[in-house]
Symmetry: D2
Subunit: 344 residues, 4 copies
């Protein structure tokens, strides 16, 4: 593979991972920055090498753990008993939706916005309807990632091969359809920005295990088996104050946090950040996505809105709640738009 080819590969794979410029060439111009040109300096933790990431990929694997045909991955941690316990967290009856509004506006990170077409049954009809188009992945729509969304070296969750599983007609393995019974479990917000006492993480910073545990200590909460975690770095506040940010660079969780989630048996990850972007690897272009989806089988609840949730947690002095979401039943899909609810 020539150097040019390599860079091209990294570039396109990385774009796809982070916020898929998945539409037309003209849209590329909309985006403010590309992976190749983005600063890669990181602070607060060392970048892991490909060899270290590969070792972690193997250590964190849940292949075979719940049977050879399992497609649910870490959702298996959410047992009936966990659901009963999670329901008991509803104490005040308050609800916070952490879904973002579906936007029809094109922007730096939204090359392919929702199209919403109003339909009238007739010019003088008493009814109206709608038709809409949606591309859930990326940094705009709140969505669930199916386990098939990412592979690493042709490997998908539970020992399957991408080349034999992903077709133009849909995914035959690890699709969003495997999540059709939804997610109903204890949710825990790790407000790492508050724990560090900053308004927001800087684009070159990693979120580390120390940050996770500092948040646990401050909040007097402990992430346990089956929990769905949300990580708040203050990105929404940053964008509210500074305007929309580029896709690259962005703060993100360090790969060591992935292993921590494995050890703690988290069921779901969500956050106002994902992995550090861009990530300086040719093989693990999207290290976190690759390890959690393709090795651990842990689905990502991508792009929740955490501002109101954090405010409610502070007010009630509680950082755990009942988290519920139910992906649409799209056979073969790689994602679903969702509107997750947090009940207190």
């Amino acid at each position: 593979m020539s150097e040019i080819t390599r860079r091209h590969f990294i570039e396109t794979a990385g774009l796809a991972a982070a916020a898929p410029a998945l539409a037309s060439a003209a849209e590329a111009a909309v985006q403010g920055s590309s992976r190749a040109s983005a600063p890669r300096k990181t602070t607060r933790a060392r970048d892991l090498s490909d060899a270290e990431l590969e070792a972690m990929f193997r250590r964190c694997s849940n292949a075979g753990r719940w049977g050879r045909d399992d497609e649910k991955g870490t959702l298996n941690y959410i047992t009936p008993a966990r659901r009963i316990a999670a329901a008991a967290l509803v104490k005040t009856g308050e609800v916070v939706s952490v879904g973002r509004d579906l936007s029809t506006k094109q922007s730096k990170t939204n090359a392919q916005p929702v199209s919403h077409i109003m339909m009238f049954s007739d010019a003088n009809s008493p009814s109206c309807g709608d038709y809409f188009t949606i591309a859930p992945h990326g940094m705009v729509v709140t969505h669930m990632d199916a386990l098939c969304h990412f592979s690493w070296k042709d490997q998908l969750y539970n020992g399957r091969k991408r080349s034999e599983s992903i077709t133009a007609s849909g995914a035959r393995w690890g699709s969003i359809y495997a999540q059709r019974e939804g997610i109903f479990t204890r949710g825990v917000l790790l407000d790492v920005a508050a724990a560090r006492g900053v308004s927001w993480y800087q684009p070159d910073e990693y979120v580390t295990v120390a940050d996770f545990e500092a948040a646990e200590r401050r909040q007097r909460v402990r992430v346990d088996s089956g929990d769905a975690i949300f990580v708040r770095t203050g990105m929404e506040r940053m964008e509210a104050e500074l305007g929309e940010q580029d896709i690259y660079p962005r703060a993100g969780i360090h790969a060591e946090c992935v292993e921590w989630m494995h050890t703690r048996q988290a069921s779901v990850y969500g956050g106002d950040c994902i992995e550090k972007l861009p990530y300086p690897s040719e093989s693990f272009t999207s290290a976190m996505h690759m390890i959690v989806l393709a090795s651990m089988g842990l689905p990502i609840l991508d792009w929740p809105s955490l501002t109101e949730l954090a405010r409610t947690c502070e007010r009630l002095n509680r950082w755990d709640y009942l988290l519920i979401t139910a992906p649409l039943r799209l056979p073969g899909g790689t994602s679903s738009p969702i509107n997750p609810l947090c009940l207190f």
Copy 2:
């Protein structure tokens, strides 16, 4: 208005109401029957006249009940206390999804199926994504109706006018966005087919208040304020045994059931039937939709799949459960695809 114009109006309005043939002319051919040609005979209850329906429209109105700017309608019955009580219904931790699979296949009632396009970030990329199109209304996709979906004589919920509220850019009043905090309440299945001891209702039959109450007695359950009800007439079993049915005629609930829901303060209606189709009225072409949406402000959870739910209820000898769904946050939308969950 000439006779021809009138019939045309009824025809198109009716189509739109029931299962919007909202796409192209060619699709009309896909459908097996039209409103005009469908048998209108009904059994087990008398059709109400337009005058009677208009009187019911006025009696059941919740305009002003929760303030002049209220867009939530009967979701207001779901108080924090109701949510806390509903959470307590989670006793075994079992989950039943009542969403239907999103279908990409055209059929009698599915003129505008979902299009699901797989996107690869690149030919050799480690990731994949998807793009899909969806028209939620009709008898195929499990969806929530926004209150704006139907008007009667230019009236929308809470005294607003359709002509001033519904634009080509979306609904300014009563859109699905008003439901963005989701529905989390006690659900009750009224299995009227089981109560009558039939496999399914015939296409010319009404479901009556007597049927509702017979189901309550058999199941030893009572629909109370804030409950979301599901009505099962056996339509899914009928289609499983006899194949896909035409849009017209179909069994449906009698308008008197609408008033019963008003009295009982139900928050949501769902069922394997909606109103009797076709309905012999020029003004109330979709009587139930018009009254519950535009007068009561009661959102319809349209087209749930009730077979597995009914089986679980029988097995557990319980017909109430925690019902949860969260429409997508689509500003101005008239509907949202959903995947509702029932927790036992």
Copy 3:
């Protein structure tokens, strides 16, 4: 009709006419100006009153001219003899495409850009394909208007009623399908900007019959029966130098030009302008569209790119050419994207 309702009606009808903000509420924000707030002052000609426009609507009517069932309108002027004569205009073999590039970028006038999704048959497939969405009307996509695109007081071309012809399933009368044999005729560019010696018309200016005829004199050409005319006011140059312009206000042709086209028996109108926007009328909110489509039956070739065409005309000192375009065969459609060719 109350004053507020009236203004609302004009506003929305006007938007639809000019550059349909036909998608979601969020997109409205994309647009830089609304009809209501746009300056309405016009120069170089007097605005016509509604009564004058209505008289013109009647005078220019071609209802019945080519039979009661005719849906082709002024395309009937393009006889086989006209086609033979037009073919003879191909003297140098040069081609100029006057289609604009399909843009996937949202802008002031492009609330609903094309979505272009690449499809791979499989990750390692030798082939690729595409899926795209398009809303042809407005000021972005080069398209043909079907005669059904506009009505005036429920009147469509050739005496049909809109209320009986336009359904949610498509147009039953005057659809784009009536143009399926395409347009193959003599084209004439009227370069009114060059004739006036200006770089571009100002937004408050009318193009008048005097301008048309000045262009004819300068170019030594005469518009004749069956000709497709293009009018160039320099708008593309204006946008190239000043950046994208708002929808309102815009220079446009005076209604007297419509009658001139009727007298000259033009078959098609196209231009870098259409009517003056906004137009100060409650009834004729889009006077030109209403008269040419609904009365004359003259289809509009909307939004051609005329810069290269004008340059070629100057260089060859010829302002007539063979004009060819062929709308897609979309039964019931109101428009088609096109890429018209001019052969010299």
Copy 4:
């Protein structure tokens, strides 16, 4: 590559080539036959081996012929002089459109039909518009194939590599945009069904060079440099009489015809058949597409309707005419829907 992988590859590549099952899994069920199960027996000519096809791929290459940056391929044969000569073929002024109607109906070969959504500017608006979705490739929509539509062993037209040219954002090389000046040339119909005296070719038959030349002799016409050829095997009549046919097996042109086109310097190929389907090769799964697009650079005018054209040719006793089409200006696209016109 294991045997299973190989078969899977062939299967999916083949599907993509012939009539892309490019949407969801559910649509696969719509199709009546798969490549793997389709009879592969051929008659009237010997199948070529992969080695023979590879040799032909090299012999027919036009790489470098029109410069290293050429993306037009055989459209270069259409010189201004050819256009002038083609215009002179307009003698009677008759027009035949060879586009097929855009269908919104799902069928055996139409897994992804057009969606056509009517848009009203408002419930009481004088105007209406439309929004539609389209996936042009396959055996349904009349469309132009861009040269990038097919590669062979990572090779695209003019020495470019697919892996460096085709991205999720569109094709950087050989896209439909290269055809934006349209096609205006002499067209020749080779009515091989008429020449053989059959109503239609059987699904296991090849069209051979002998058939092409028999048609030339019968019609007293000779395909010359720059001509666009159409081949008629009677498939439309077959489907009119026998109903819709499966994708596999289908009659198609023998690879020797590809070389004949190269020798004769045809500019465009179109027909009611393409290559023989399925084709028994692991490497040349779509032999004709691969050679004409990726080696010769000859664009395919896919899926014209030839019945009326053939009738007109017989009536006028002329098999050549002016052929015109103009793909939409979609930067990066792999195809465009078209409505080609034939002028006599």
